[in-house]
Symmetry: C2
Subunit: 242 residues, 2 copies
Amino acid sequence: MDENNLSKVKAMTFDVFGTVVDWRSSVAREIKKMGLKKGFTLDWDKFADEWRSGYQPSMNKVRTGELPWTKIDNLHRLILDEMLLRHQITNLTEEEAEYLNRAWHRLDPWPDSVEGLTLLKKDYVISTLSNGNVALLVNMAKYGGLPWDTVLSAEIARHYKPDAEAYLSTGEYLGFPIDQVMMVAAHKNDLKAAKSNGMMTAYVPRPNEHGTNTIVDYEKEDYIDIVVDDLIDLSKKMTSIK
Amino acid sequence: MDENNLSKVKAMTFDVFGTVVDWRSSVAREIKKMGLKKGFTLDWDKFADEWRSGYQPSMNKVRTGELPWTKIDNLHRLILDEMLLRHQITNLTEEEAEYLNRAWHRLDPWPDSVEGLTLLKKDYVISTLSNGNVALLVNMAKYGGLPWDTVLSAEIARHYKPDAEAYLSTGEYLGFPIDQVMMVAAHKNDLKAAKSNGMMTAYVPRPNEHGTNTIVDYEKEDYIDIVVDDLIDLSKKMTSIK
């Protein structure tokens, strides 16, 4: 790692789904709760995976212009409505469907996230940089106690990651040259795009994001400035560099 | 007051300069510190007033299209540079002028602000809605310990208050119908514009915003839903309505 460049970092922007919160087990829990209430049963984890797998294709429709700007809450709902039909779940009221859709506002932080962010907040401006919309991220922060300095989102940039605008706007909004802002993510494609737009990058592999059978990629790529175990480790390693 | 409508409020957006922070004595302190360092003297309070008085005219240049979108940090700097010339202060380095310009990032909260916001945060989404840019508001929050859920700004709406877009975008970003969002401000023109765009409104007169000789307007107008003494009082009154 290039310690000289890392010591210049002033702000950190975090991918959220998978990097800061455990979407899979949280969404599985929420669909299970609804299933128990409404009398349906299915593979809860698989339902969460299926919902999530609709996410990239639906964002790509926005990124390519096939859909006009549509926020994640509404993309999640489109995917959910199709899934409910596919799984022949037809007895949810509109209120229940909307409550279920907002499962994505009620995601548990990974065990290290709140402590790690609290430590990092002392030395850095910390912000989300998520494809989640602002309300989703704000509600999730209140739910899980995530101590963001502010919430930046694709919704504000009006461009989903990995579009350049999403990354570049972070420097403008946070008031730092882009090479003093570090993107923190569990996904290499996010970091690759961040680096190509001039950001510093921290890779946080999350071995349980897709359940316990995932094969995790720990390899450091040339577009990654630092690899850490979790957000507490990120704080420790950044402190040691100062 | 219409308690029925007040009980529907889910989120609060706050004007910041004057409403949450005491810009006048803070900016006076900062210019005095610079004066003592660089060997100039002037009426510190008057200098703060003069700087502030350039604010509305410069924003209006953006609002009317005479200037392209320009963030407050840059407008403050334009005003400051002219003032330094006028007061024949010619010995500041670029670094010192920029540090002085960022006096607006280091404004003290009013004595009730942190406690009031902390109380309100338990029951409401709380956000800035300021003409200050995002970096300014984030740095100010870190400086003063203001516990925002997120930072919304004219910079994000790309429209300065009192343009409608600044108010209307709060409902969209925070995820609530606009009549469930309450604008909290010490300035009636802000509340009048908020109400005309469908928001709820809370008026917090700040008798010392312009120093101790100000004549304060305590009158409740028809576009004001509630008048409060300070942010702790706002929390108490809203709790009593629930």
